[in-house]
Amino acid sequence: MSTEIPAAIGPAIVAEGLSKRFGAVLAVDSLRLSVRRSEVYGFLGPNGSGKSTTIRMLCGLLAPSAGSVEVLGYRLPGEAEELKRRIGYMTQKFSLYDDLSVEENLQFLGALHGVHGARARTRIDELCELYRLGEFRRRLAGTLSGGQRQRLALASTVLHQPELLLLDEPTSAVDPQSRREFWDALFDLAQAGATLLVSTHYMDEAERCHRLAILDRGRLVADGEPQALMGELPGTTLRVDCSEPRQAQAILARLPEVLGAAQIGGHLRVLAAHGPRRVEQLREVLRGAGIEAEVAPTPPNLEDVFVAATRRRPAP
């Protein structure tokens, strides 16, 4: 990684009261963020939760409406141009040139970042090897498969060895196998010293992050290490086994103490607010409706955290 500056001093990203308003819509609402160096930090949230807008503000592409942001020590939006030399931004949609080959795309991106000549050649060879693009070097980017394009996009994002990578839903268009490989590549980068901020709406990906923030309608509703978030879950996760899961789900969803109920195969997964005798209580309710059910506590997962966090505020 780059050694020009005394790296790893202070956090990679600090934001306080970060907000972005588009007309009448408050897309990001008083966000408070702290991302440490060399960690993989996740942004988990549904579409429209403000993930992309936040990332674009952190890259210096959008000026915040309010709040303060410091990325790699640069204050935004004032020092955005200096920051752009040190970050890599991978867009949600593939944004390289379909009508240029793998090699040409990388050469172009290198030239924009001042990576020329022999240094560019070595770096491109390295990346093609690392991301298994060697045999496609002369293929047009538009003819690559989803996974190959993803690897090319990552290669072009890390070409100039940025200290901070901001990846906006990088795996939304690739198959599960490619997703696993992609995450391995991300951890390799983190291990080499880069800081990564990755937005996603996949629970399994969010669970792999060192730390993560859950966004909902522009607000930060929970943040911390995935394990800690699951441990602090403000509720109980229950598994409900019965013969009529659809009816049972409808009945349980109406209870005020039930935060969420989802069918998983033949059983229900229910997130209920903490309470004494919760298991017996639910069983009674179902029996009252003529449904015999097995109800048992089960370990929480990130989806439960997500459901609990996004449930707290009623929809506007």
Partner: protein, 363 residues
């Protein structure tokens, strides 16, 4: 402004253009096709107009007049009529465009010289026919034997294009028309393409500045514009014998100024449009008035005052004066400096508006 980044963009643009077969074909195809079409089709020296003759005099002298008219080849006297009503019917049906009417007292009229001796009835619905009629109105009757000349007619002395060959007037203008069409369109579309395809989102997160991006993208089109100028001049010379009487350097100097003005217009259009299709529409919208009002299609001095003012604001108007001056009248660019200044002013205004609009959009 970083030269390396700008050239990287220009190189990328050329690579993309190289793969875009259709655009590549257009660069050479449009000038060639337009030149041949306009060169052959726009011919204001109308010949062989279908015409009829109504000779009510029927004297030796009237027959001589008819023969003289026929030998001019402007009229193709294919019908001999006997009744005046036939003239109206033939014209209305479009079978003839003109009719020569010689009244019974033709010779008496000629002798007295107080009334026109004969009539040329023309189809006024066609402009080119009107032009031909004016040509014939000056027909020298003096060649008719032994008669006093009633009206000598106007002798027209045509400088610069004595043979009155249309391509000599058309080809220099075509340089401007073709450049307007291709340069404005290519730039407007190339700039909007990055945005439409999502490349811009990635580019703005790099150190590349909007100025480097714009100049880098437009640079290849300056070269392409000069190639097109060369092609038109070569074809004009080989196919139609259109000369370059002034300095070749001045021709390219004027063209370069005009190319830059057109690119500035394209850059401005790209700030209005969100998609390539929109930029094409706006380009067409900006293209038509230039073609119609610049003096390429219709005589500039024949237009109403308001139209002339509008035309003064268009780059093509000034380029036409420049290129016709240099190519046909051997004028030096230094003699035509007001036109150069106008092109420069247009470029500066367009770029200033484009920059202001871009700044507003990014805020």
């Amino acid at each position: 402004m970083n030269l390396g980044r700008m050239l990287a963009v220009a190189r990328k643009e050329l690579l993309q253009l190289k793969r875009d077969r259709l655009s590549l074909a257009m660069i050479m195809g449009v000038p060639t096709l337009e030149l041949l079409m306009f060169g052959f089709a726009i011919n204001l020296d109308v010949r062989h107009l279908p015409a009829a003759v109504l000779d009510q005099a029927g004297t030796a002298l009237s027959r001589e007049l008819v023969d003289e008219l026929a030998s001019s080849q402007v009229l193709d006297l294919r019908k001999r009529l006997v009744a005046p009503q036939e003239v109206i019917a033939l014209l209305r049906r479009g079978e003839v465009s003109a009719a020569v009417v010689i009244p019974p007292d033709f010779e008496a009229r000629l002798q007295r010289g107080d009334r026109p001796a004969w009539q040329l009835v023309v189809d006024g619905s066609d402009q080119s026919v009107q032009a031909a009629a004016r040509q014939l109105a000056a027909f020298p009757l003096g060649s008719l034997r032994g008669l006093p000349e009633p009206s000598a007619g106007v002798e027209i002395v045509n400088f610069y294009n004595p043979e009155r060959r249309a391509p000599v007037n058309t080809v220099p203008g075509l340089v401007g028309v073709i450049l307007t069409m291709t340069m404005v369109l290519f730039t407007a579309m190339a700039l909007v393409r990055e945005q439409e395809r999502g490349n811009l989102e990635m580019l703005i997160a790099t150190p590349l500045s909007p100025l480097e991006l714009t100049v880098g993208k437009v640079l290849p089109y300056v070269a392409i514009g000069l190639v097109q100028v060369t092609l038109i001049l070569l074809l004009g010379w080989v196919v139609f014998g259109v000369p370059v009487r002034g300095s070749l350097l001045d021709v390219y100097g004027a063209s370069l100024c005009f190319i830059v003005a057109s690119l500035a217009l394209g850059i401005f259009i790209s700030t209005l449009a969100k998609t390539q299709f929109q930029s094409m529409q706006v380009t067409l919208f900006a293209f038509m008035p230039q073609i119609l009002l610049s003096g390429f299609m219709f005589p500039f001095n024949g237009m109403p005052q308001v139209a002339q003012w509008l035309a003064e604001a268009m780059p093509l108007t000034h380029f036409l004066r420049l290129i016709r001056g240099v190519m046909l009248r051997s004028a030096r660019l230094t003699e035509l400096w007001p036109e150069l200044l106008a092109l420069l002013a247009f470029t500066v205004v367009m770029l200033a508006v484009a920059v202001a609009r871009t700044k507003k959009r990014l805020a």
